[in-house]
Subunit: 350 residues, 2 copies
């Protein structure tokens, strides 16, 4: 009888970073799709939109007026899910009804004054300004005694719940450490205690030998499709040097991060010749005053599309009740991303 | 200063069943929505569709012809994510690249020969036939030595990745226990070992005293919005008697489960006067040959809609990188569901 072949046979893969499993069904990519089709985003936007609450000089829902900013701009979310002044309290009935007050800050970061751009259409120096702002915000928020975790992220595209196409991201900073980074802390700590090296340093070494999941590299960062990727074209940006957070990056490393983000997102856009939707975000050490030598800075990209600009992967049913499941292998997806050009399709004369 | 008020202030709630937290931001429901609008499903379907691969007498992609079934019908998924004959094998490189072959069975269950119906439009005796089939399938699949967990579920509506409106559900049965029921096993076992009663029995007792999250009750089941609900109108059906799986239900209890499913899904449809999308599924003991007295049968409903037929909740960005987050409180949602009539809006003459 045939032997096990991960390009053919259903299998589970272990997410060593989060401590969870994903079900991989390589043979399943052949099934026909008759379900919901997504509407590709309308692509022609003006450089300035008078009705956009993120454009320079416009006013926001709360009545405040944006400055005429020329690169990045950050402000407190007018409808933040977290607010700073929450009275402490909670409840606990037999461990079954447990709640506790949560405080924090929600910030919005405009990446550019230009309403019509996205990260892949910006230059490396322009993206570097975004990186610099991430550093500043992480440093300032993380230094507060009431903030023990800072989540920097971007939702791109209407499919990812983004309600304004103006290029922007968010920061949610809070008192407690949320579940995802908490799981990664457990895994990274166990590994660090056993090996004296970070989990991602050793993982990166293996991936750089194998090359089959690597998408692109520069001097200080590697972009790859993780062995345990859940989303069809999920990627992770890992720093070659094991730093715990973005404030530790040298100026050259900050440039490299901007370069990696730019080249990855260009490849994403080129995959289906559209503005590629995703949620992306940095995972860094908790800002709880401890050193966390086990932590290794990285950035996740979770894009929903599967086969084309209009067919997405649905994480429903089995995925909500059982485990995440994927149809194409991470190796296949890495190959597709490696094939793409690093010249943005819109920059090429038609 | 004001004291903590869970109807006003951001807080975290603990999911005692899964051992995770959810961030609740009650104040945030006031934010305006300018993002993606969903297309409500087109509602006029014929009782028989000659192009539907699930209708009686039609042929499927694999070439097989469906029998002229008159109530329910079950078959092996022609594009199953799990297959039975997988050679054993896997890999493990330093705990960082870990995979193992996975085998199993994927089944499709047609709930009715009628292409134009959904569960809330069926009678209790007709839904009882679906319950009977769930029992049979759980018993048969669960008895196999190569199957240690049986996941029964339904994806309803295109928004939930359902590619055929013919009323149907699925069963994925496999060698290993997936992450979600595995987490629930850990939590239920710890509780049972400490208290000698199931976690959900004690939880149900508290909820029946408080009433604020209860949606409906019958002789053998209670439907409520869990204290830790993630999705805006998430509910759970809990059996009053602590049974480990659906095969232990008495005939009267099976009727009651059908009644609970019917009344809940009618209320869902009446909420926004549409065929309400959701993923739903039963959680039951692993079929690993052990007794699992800690397990307590329940059925989860995860519906994506938030404010209307066209505005959904997006689990993106912060939710993917941090923790699930919700805007309206579970108590508010339970109140909305309690207000609904149990006569289906389509059954009412216009
Ligand atoms: O099996 P179906 O209906 O083709 O597919 C649907 O349900 C599956 C199980 O929840 C998911 O993995 C798919 O993403 C979804 O589109
Ligand atoms: O904050 P926004 O952009 O209004 O909202 C978006 O991002 C949030 C954080 O990921 C999510 O909770 C919302 O569901 C999503 O629509």
């Amino acid at each position: 009888s045939a032997s096990f072949d991960s390009t053919e046979h259903p299998h589970r893969r272990f997410n060593a970073l989060a401590g969870e499993w994903v079900l991989v069904s390589p043979h399943r990519s052949k099934r026909p799709w008759q379900g919901q089709q997504e509407e590709p985003e309308q692509e022609h936007r003006p450089a300035y939109d008078p009705t956009c609450y993120l454009c320079p000089g416009n006013s926001r829902v709360g009545g405040e007026v944006n400055p005429k900013y020329t690169d990045t701009f950050v402000f407190n979310n007018d409808f933040g899910a977290l607010t700073p002044d929450v009275p402490t309290g909670g409840l606990n009935e037999g461990g079954l009804l447990r709640a506790e007050a949560e405080s924090g800050v929600c910030r919005v970061i405009c990446f550019s004054p230009r309403h019509d751009l996205t990260l892949p259409q910006m230059t490396v120096p322009a993206i570097r300004k975004v990186v610099d702002l991430w550093v500043e915000e992480f440093a300032t928020l993380g230094a507060r005694p009431d903030i023990n975790y800072v989540q920097i992220f971007e939702n791109k595209g209407p499919m990812m719940g983004c309600s304004n196409p103006h290029p922007h991201g968010q920061i949610w900073a809070q008192r407690t450490v949320p579940g995802e980074p908490a799981k990664e802390t457990v895994q990274q700590l166990a590994y660090f205690q056993e090996h004296g090296r970070t989990l991602l340093a050793d993982y990166l070494k293996i991936e750089l030998e194998k090359k089959e999941r690597v998408v692109l590299e520069n001097e200080h960062f590697v972009v790859l499709v993780p062995f345990w990727a859940v989303w069809p074209f999920e990627t992770i940006i890992i720093s070659r040097r094991a730093v715990q957070d973005i404030t530790q990056l040298t100026p050259a490393e900050r440039d490299s991060l901007a370069d990696a983000v730019r080249r990855l997102t260009i490849r994403y856009d080129n995959l289906f010749n559209i503005s590629f939707p995703y949620s992306a975000g940095l995972h860094q050490r908790p800002t709880d005053g401890q050193e966390h030598p086990e932590w290794h800075l990285h950035m996740h990209f979770f894009p929903p599309l599967l086969r084309s600009a209009t067919v997405r992967k649905f994480m429903v049913g089995y995925e909500m009740l059982g485990d995440p499941q994927r149809d194409v292998t991470p190796e296949f997806s890495a190959g597709r991303l490696r094939e793409q050009s690093e010249v943005h399709y819109k920059a090429v004369p038609a």
